[in-house]
């Protein structure tokens, strides 16, 4: 009898991998370091998701329930994998809670860590209370408390969203595009305009990367139906006088410096490699990508393969990824993992 698959991380990718294995009648062990499943959308309190417009707690909540009710998935929360030894088809995973599992393969769905805006001090996060992150605004919306300036609770009349905070910035060693922030910001701008029709929302951008269907449904819609304004400028600094924030930069389309007052400035924070990736790399013996994400063996070979046979990877652990694509990758990686256990790869007979 083949051994179960170890899935590390209970976010969208991990939930999808466990569900995929269960659908194929294969047992799995899902290990989550936090006290609940759901990953970033649940732990960070996201509001409505792209592209379904469903609330995160409903959309991801459904995936969580499906996994928790499955008889072929053993869910272990509040635990990490401490050691992972053995050979493909015959691994032993030891957890920090003292338990150990004999598994045939592992799928790393360990996700990402939100960029910490404190690393871009010139943009005022940590200095001015009304400079917030997209995650904080998601929480304001999802909690039902509404969009308010943290300093005094007033409803903002003018909000600036700064794109590429922690993305595409060699100064801080982040050479990647975080992929989802443009769309998330366009969606958030519409949500703010819907909640506060008198509040004007400006998005400061270098390029707008609302790829595929996100173009019409988020970028165009935000301009055409919600009158969100997009200004081509990378902001130089955010300052404040105690009452208002001032966003300084160059409006590159009119070639003029700008110093514009705002009530609230939102950092569209990017996706960093998971802060635990160095540990994961050591424990599972997998190579990391040069930017610190978990490396893939190749692009078109065995889906989700890492540098170590029998260990697979999917979702934002590989690099910035959407929820939809994380789910697809996890399903593909599960197929690879099960195939590796069954030895179903056909051999040519002369």
């Amino acid at each position: 009898m083949t051994k179960p698959i170890l899935i590390v991380g209970g976010g969208p990718a991990g939930l999808a991998a466990a569900h995929a294995a269960a659908s194929l009648g294969h047992a799995s062990v899902l290990v989550e370091k936090m006290d609940r499943l759901g990953g970033a959308p649940i732990l960070s309190g996201y509001a409505k998701l792209v592209p379904s417009h469903e609330w995160a707690k409903d959309a991801i909540g459904g995936m969580v329930t499906r996994v928790e009710q499955s008889p072929s998935i053993a869910v272990v929360k509040n635990a990490k994998v401490k050691a992972f030894e053995g050979t493909p088809g015959n691994f032993r995973a030891t957890l920090t809670n003292g338990e150990a599992y004999d598994v045939g393969a592992a799928i790393l769905t360990t996700g990402f860590t939100h960029f910490d805006s404190i690393n871009k001090p010139e943009w005022g996060f940590g200095t001015f209370p009304d400079v917030v992150t997209t995650t904080q605004v998601e929480q304001m919306i999802s909690s039902g408390k509404g969009v308010k300036c943290p300093s005094d609770g007033r409803k903002p009349k003018r909000v600036a969203i700064l794109l590429c905070v922690g993305s595409r910035d060699r100064q801080i060693g982040r050479e990647w595009c975080s992929k989802i922030c443009c769309t998330v910001s366009a969606n958030m701008a519409m949500e703010i305009r819907e909640e506060l029709p008198d509040c004007h929302v400006y998005i400061y951008y270098m390029d707008i990367r609302t790829f595929g269907h996100y173009e019409a449904e988020y970028y165009w819609k935000s301009q055409e139906e919600f009158k969100v304004k997009y200004i081509k400028a990378r902001i130089a600094e955010v300052t404040g006088d105690g009452k208002q924030l001032f966003v300084k930069g160059e409006d590159t389309l009119v070639k003029r410096p700008i110093t514009i007052p705002f009530d609230m400035v939102v950092h569209a924070i990017g996706m960093d490699p998971n802060v635990d990736n160095m540990t994961l790399s050591a424990v599972f013996g997998v190579d990391l990508h040069k930017h610190g994400f978990i490396g893939r063996k190749d692009a078109y070979g065995v889906m989700g393969a890492t540098s170590r046979a029998g260990v697979f990877v999917a979702g934002a652990a590989i690099g910035p990824e959407t929820i939809d694509d994380s789910i697809a990758q996890a399903s593909a990686a599960t197929m690879s993992a099960i195939a590796s256990l069954r030895g179903t790869i056909p051999q040519a007979v002369e």
Partner: protein
Amino acid sequence: MPIHEKSLIRPENIKTKENLIVEGIDVSGHWSTFIESRAVTDYNEELQEEIGALPGGEFIHRCWQCGSCTNACTVHAIEPRFNPRYWIYLIRMGYESELVRDKDIIWQCVSCNKCTYACPRDVVPEGVMKATAHWLELKGYTEKSPSTIFDEEFSRQIIARGKIEDTEVLHKFLHKTKQPLMQDWLVTIGRNIAMRLPVKWGLKMMWAQVFKPKTKDWAKSRKAIEDYIIEQDAHHRHALKLDAPKSKATAHQPKLHAAE
């Protein structure tokens, strides 16, 4: 000067003081010359709303600044300062003083609509140019353009009678724009018409000039058109926060003579 060649220093921003003492130090002479900041310090959110409320400006908020309109523009080809993409941006962001600087260029749009067909987002830049010229007029930044004066006389006659009297349109237009009636080209046309027109038609023309006939049962149509014009004018003035006209007489359209 095209946008990309614009000088960073405008003559009016250079300030020189004859005598200047800063913190007790006499800096008269070269050291007393300063350049005022070019920094934009605020957005005026009303500007887009105002121009968007005028006919033609409805879709301005769709613009994503690709520049297709300016690239397609007939006028831009011969007048590089004519840049619809740039003005649309100024309006969207509320850079009013910048927009008004170009008040004597904006109305030069020839309505060829090449921009309309080039625009990937259906902004209808030609309409925006029209709305902007209209806005500049309503706000008092520009005089009525000759074409507006022509249109007003033309529509005044249509509204009053349901038809126009060509010679009267031309005569009134030249008079209002302070142009002489006896212009060479006009004299030539007049002479040629007089020489070639059948006598019967000539008499009919003269009769029409004196008696100014109306379209049959025109009164009802006239009332509907007048009401619509007054309603639209009030709507535009409200959007631009201008005083409402006190009566029909001060409406945007010229006074309509009931006696006609």
